[in-house]
Symmetry: C2
Subunit: 384 residues, 2 copies
């Protein structure tokens, strides 16, 4: 394991589970972190990482926090880049850059970037009137996908309209004051993702292509390797390289993709950060996405990314009720073939990601089966 000593900690904007797992990776590398988070009871705080309580949107809070930092990274792309620019001192570097965050946080700009880079994306258009949407449906057919350009995640802000009536209803009840874009609907057979890292020296390392499974746009599980032809996996790695090189980014990015029954590949969206689809890498790859990100932003050499088992799977643990939630779990899951990551969320509700299980085996499917069995050994219960 490489070690490094930093003069100043790595700043992480946001204190959720991604920050917590970044903190865990940094700690193993002997790399201090400093986290800014609004809520006093965050996963990063519960895991005993140093958390500064403050509002990301408030330049004065930001300024105080940033004063002792020289490197800042993100667990969340929905930050206020204007406030960050205002608060930043001259020795501060953001990874990825605020320009990259600006581009990615607007789904329209993001898609334009991808298209201009020659990457395959669903057809899309900016829309501002119902007539614009109708024109899209005339050209591409129904269903029509409408997306809020900013702030959407886990399917929030994405609407699949099945026909003119749905568009009518959407337009009269929903659209006011929102910047929207339209996309053609891709009848994908499955969703794929890849994590890609770029170091300060421009070196690029890909994780394997992972298959993700969503219900109501929430990821239920991911399994790796994805069962796709080798050529398609190679093509996806090339796409990920193009993305991260063209953005001149440093750190780990996730590229989420659609894969159709006939083997067509479309990039769905980018995350300029570690991502749920890469949680399997903690036990599943020789270097995790979290360690890789810390390595990248702090100028260490990128780590080896191959799988540690022939098959790995990650199963999200989702809230089953509203109200603070605790967990009862045996000390060893699935006879030692699975590992638990619990996020210690203060605030839990039905469907919210509260933790995840990683499992491993001879194949991705065997690992998923083990993860499903391990999940049965864990009980969620109201916190006393």
């Amino acid at each position: 394991m490489a070690h490094a000593s930093q003069t100043s900690p790595v700043g992480i904007l946001g204190g959720g589970q991604l920050a917590m797992m970044l903190g865990e990776a940094a700690q193993r590398l002997n790399m201090p972190t400093s986290i800014l988070e609004r809520n006093s009871a965050s996963p990063a705080h519960a895991a005993h990482f140093p958390v500064t309580i403050g509002d990301w949107r408030n330049p004065s809070d930001l300024k105080t926090w940033l004063a002792s930092l020289s490197i800042v990274t993100f667990e969340n792309e929905f930050v206020d880049t204007g406030a960050l620019r205002e608060a930043a001192h001259s020795n501060l570097q953001f990874f990825p850059s605020l320009d990259a965050i600006d581009l990615i946080q607007d789904k329209l700009y993001q898609k334009e970037f991808l298209k201009n880079a020659g990457l395959p994306v669903p057809r899309f258009r900016s829309v501002s009137t119902m007539a614009d949407c109708e024109a899209c449906a005339d050209d591409w057919g129904w269903p029509l996908v409408l997306k809020e350009r900013r702030m959407g995640y886990d399917g929030k802000g994405t609407f699949v309209l099945r026909g003119p009536d749905a568009l009518d209803g959407f337009w009269s009840h929903y659209h006011a004051g929102r910047d929207l874009m339209a996309e053609e609907f891709i009848p994908f057979a499955t969703e794929l993702a890849i994590q890609v890292a770029r170091g300060k020296d421009g070196s690029v390392a890909h994780f394997p292509v992972v298959e993700t499974f969503q219900s109501n746009s929430i990821c239920l599980w991911a399994k790796c390797p994805a069962l796709i032809p080798r050529n398609d996996a190679t093509a996806i790695k090339q796409m990920a390289s193009t993305v991260i090189n063209q953005l001149n980014a440093v750190g780990v990015f996730a590229v989420e993709l659609f894969y159709t029954a006939s083997g067509e590949i479309f990039i769905n969206e980018l995350a300029p950060r570690v991502h749920n689809s890469g949680h399997y890498t903690i036990e599943g790859c020789k270097t995790s996405q979290f360690e890789q990100h810390i390595r990248a932003v702090s100028g260490l050499a990128l780590g080896e990314t191959s799988l540690t088992y022939p098959g790995v799977a990650m199963l999200n643990i989702l809230g089953e009720f509203d109200g603070q939630c605790d967990i009862q779990s045996p000390s060893s899951l699935a006879n030692g073939h699975a590992a638990l990551h619990w996020y210690h969320k203060q605030d839990s509700r039905r469907g919210r990601k509260l933790g995840h299980i990683t499992a491993w085996g001879d194949t991705a499917n065997a690992a998923l089966a083990t993860a499903i069995e391990a999940r049965k050994e864990i009980e969620l219960c109201p916190k006393k």
Copy 2:
């Protein structure tokens, strides 16, 4: 819907959920059934189909039951064909034939048949000593798969031995008195299945290729269509045709297959009957496997087998505790996008198949996600 009137009912050997669903299909075709089952409280009985209580292995019980029948079919291939031959009268036809049952019920004969038919199967050999097994492992490498030749289902009687120590342990504790065969281990990426029907006129109809997901050899779900290249689906249909034509069989068969990451296909095993992997066809195909089987054995034209929705999934409902089990379920599952089939088993235990859910959607994955959501709406509880 075609109708038919039979002078005598279709005899079904076995009264489990497969017989129950065959009975439901026959009823809709106005085709009476007569079921022979040992247990007085079977799924077929609970569903109010006429059940004769008797022992399949007892020629006298069989003779009484068979007297009024001219057609007999099976929900289970582990029947005593000797007793059936002894009890059969001259006007009785078995579909499939008792010769086909004999062949399939012995996994070694089944594999020899498949190999001789030019179909791709894992390498296999009859073994009767530990030295035989060691020779197989020398030739094929570890792990080595040992199978009891007869009576195995849901992984029972199948042993994956990881190395010489495991073989040693197996041999000293387990092998006595069992007829075994050895198979090379195929590191399959996923399992596939296909239902194929053959009519009395020799016509053949294939259902789509379905992808199945097993945990501890128990099917958790199946989803259709399988995400495999079109050429591979065509090859699998041809294999299924070869199987059913060479056996000159009448009725529905299931062919279970292994599919590797590099797209290799191996036949794992045959079921000479309707099969769990085809339950999705009840709502998911224009004709279900159950109706198709009744059509075939009673000489009706085979029905159309295409999907009724772009994607369909079946999720097994497995017992969560030992002891008689009841179900609490809303009247409509997943807002009407899923259907429940409950088997009314008297005897339930952890892991036993108690029912299944079918769900449908734009894709197989969307249907599976819906089935998983629907499963949460159903609660299993001890029977009062």
